[in-house]
């Protein structure tokens, strides 16, 4: 591989790092965008089946070309901006919503060593990047110069800030037992233990000792992506479509892509932090990237399942769950865990 790349490296000089990284980024982002497109189809199909409907089945065999048709439709729609909108920020909003959802993939390991940037402070970077996501929403809500958009942005940002706490605390527990901020090491730490030696790896993953934190993390993830049942942000019966109300065509679809990219990201991260990433659940099957993809796909299905099952929360219920249930629960669990870690009963020695 290095032999083949040598002439390119000599040709581009100092820019080679940039170009080679861009190529790697494309290798990650292109399949991701495909997955985002087909998640929209999967959502409509799955919810259709849950509600005893057929779902989209007109475009292509089994409706498989539906995302392409949707994409083409959105591309050719007129992009409108409100007269009194702050135009630059108005178009920066959707970009700021999508960009962090893609940047976070830089530190996601797909397999042992298969990662764009294997940095030591991976988890910190993830938390930092997800906290930037909020800007897309706020900028879009403010720049639209519309009351509904602004109200939606307020709701969204309050909700995202509240649930980031729960996610952060859940991750603190993961860090405490893995002793590392590096995602690859966090996954590798889950492959050790008594159960893993018995060939029952799935029992030594973090989800079992950290079961409450696993639930807190995933539920907070659903809230963080503003998905049902936490979708008061775009609650169509109250504030139409929240911060996206004034957007049309491609600028709207960027928000849409961001939401689905975030869903996929949260599913993958939950799989990495709590479900052993690429590790095989049982000893006699080899580890590999397909396990990570399978686990992420199952969690993604849970997102859709939850949406088809639960009614929307009231706003005060959302805030109560975030602040009065999750935060005390996390703090208690952190204390219990630190006692457990230093007790003779510790399983992470």
């Amino acid at each position: 591989m290095d032999q083949i790349l040598q002439p390119f490296e000599a040709f581009f000089g100092p820019f080679w790092v940039l170009i080679w990284t861009l190529v790697k980024i494309m290798i990650i982002v292109a399949p991701l965008m495909g997955a985002v497109a087909y998640t929209t189809l999967a959502e409509r199909k799955v919810i259709g089946w849950i509600q005893l409907r057929i779902g989209p089945n007109r475009v292509g065999p089994l409706g498989l070309l539906q995302p392409v048709a949707d994409g083409v439709k959105l591309l050719f729609k007129e992009v409108i901006s409100p007269t009194k909108a702050s135009t630059q920020l108005y178009f920066l909003g959707p970009v700021m919503a999508l960009a962090p959802a893609l940047v976070a993939w830089a530190v996601v390991p797909f397999d042992d060593g298969l990662v764009l940037s294997n940095i030591n402070a991976g988890v910190l970077l993830l938390m930092a990047i997800t906290s930037v996501e909020i800007y897309g929403v706020i900028i879009a809500g403010w720049a639209s110069n519309s009351k509904y958009a602004f109200l939606g942005a307020m709701r969204a940002s309050a909700q995202m800030i509240s649930y980031e706490l729960g996610m952060g605390f859940a991750l603190v527990c993961v860090l405490m037992i893995s002793g590392s901020l590096n995602l690859t090491e966090i996954v590798q730490a889950q492959g050790q233990g008594w159960f893993a030696e018995q060939g029952l790896g799935f029992l030594s993953w973090n989800w079992l000792p950290l079961l409450p934190m696993f639930l807190v993390y995933f539920i907070s993830g659903v809230a963080e992506t503003n998905r049902a049942p936490f979708d008061v942000v775009e609650g169509e019966s109250e504030i139409v479509a929240g911060h996206m109300i004034e957007y049309s065509g491609m600028s709207f679809s960027l928000f849409f892509l961001a939401e689905y990219a975030n869903m996929i990201l949260i599913s993958t991260l939950t799989a990495l932090f709590f479900l052993g990433g690429w590790l095989s659940p049982v000893g006699f099957l080899p580890d590999g990237i397909w396990w990570l993809l399978g686990k992420a796909a199952f969690l993604l299905f849970t997102f859709l399942w939850v949406r088809a099952t639960f009614p929307r929360f009231r706003y005060d219920q959302i805030m109560r769950l975030g602040w009065k249930v999750f935060v005390p629960l996390c703090l208690t669990w952190i204390m219990l865990l630190s006692v457990w870690l230093f007790s003779p009963l510790s399983i992470w020695k």
Partner: protein, 220 residues
């Protein structure tokens, strides 16, 4: 300067530095306060990138996590909510200009003294050794913080907690007659408490008697 001799980090530094300066200028020249706050966010972000080039990864990520993710969001909220008249903000510009110039002059002089002094520079402070590949900035910092500086660290945590409680108590006003619902009570409620079954005897059908002259009269 030959382009091929330029290393990639140096290129990154010039790019980030240029963005930082431009964004900082944007903060003070933007007419709209929201644009100014967003420029400040950009300035923070690109200075974080410069710290990253200096291998201070924890500091760089912290500025994004804490300043951009939390503090600036708060700033943005305040600026968006408050109705600021941009024209009136400019009123005192000429009056405050001399004071501002003096402050700026002092700052420039101080910085020049420090940066140009003989205590600072490559001769006095040599460039640090490049860190090993497995060097973890975060682990290093955590080790110092929780061992040597544990006392100061916990004191800071205590002060912050006190500040938090004080802030809540200052803004907390207990409203009388608030219609807050307690979810625990809601969940614990029994059907009996809400619904009472009464046995009400069925009403009799009013009997309609035919009258001889042909018109019907309803008798209850």
């Amino acid at each position: 300067m030959n382009l091929t001799e330029l290393s990639f980090p140096t290129l990154c530094f010039y790019l980030c530095a240029a963005i930082t300066v431009a964004a900082a200028l944007g903060v003070i020249t933007a007419k709209n306060p929201v644009h100014a706050v967003l420029s400040l966010v950009l300035a923070f972000f690109s200075s974080g990138m410069i710290w990253l080039l200096l291998q201070a990864e924890f500091l760089a990520i912290s500025i994004v996590l804490i300043y951009i993710g939390v503090v600036m969001v708060l700033f943005l909220f305040v600026v968006m909510m408050v109705d600021i008249n941009a024209a009136r903000l400019r009123d005192g510009f000429w009056r405050y200009l001399p004071v501002g110039l003096v402050v700026a002059g002092v700052m420039v002089a101080e910085m020049a003294l420090v940066l140009n002094g003989r205590y600072f520079g490559l001769a006095a402070v040599p460039a640090p050794e490049p860190a090993a590949a497995d060097f973890s900035n975060v682990k290093m910092l955590a080790h110092l913080l929780y061992t040597e500086y544990a006392y100061a660290f916990e004191l800071a945590a205590l002060i912050l907690t006190v500040g938090l409680i004080a802030a809540v108590m200052l803004t907390f006003n207990k409203r009388v007659g608030s219609k807050r619902v307690d979810p625990a009570d809601q969940v614990a409620v029994k059907a009996r408490d809400r619904l009472v079954m009464h046995s009400i005897p069925a009403e009799k059908e009013p009997v309609v008697e035919p009258v001889t002259d042909g018109s019907a009269e309803v008798r209850s």
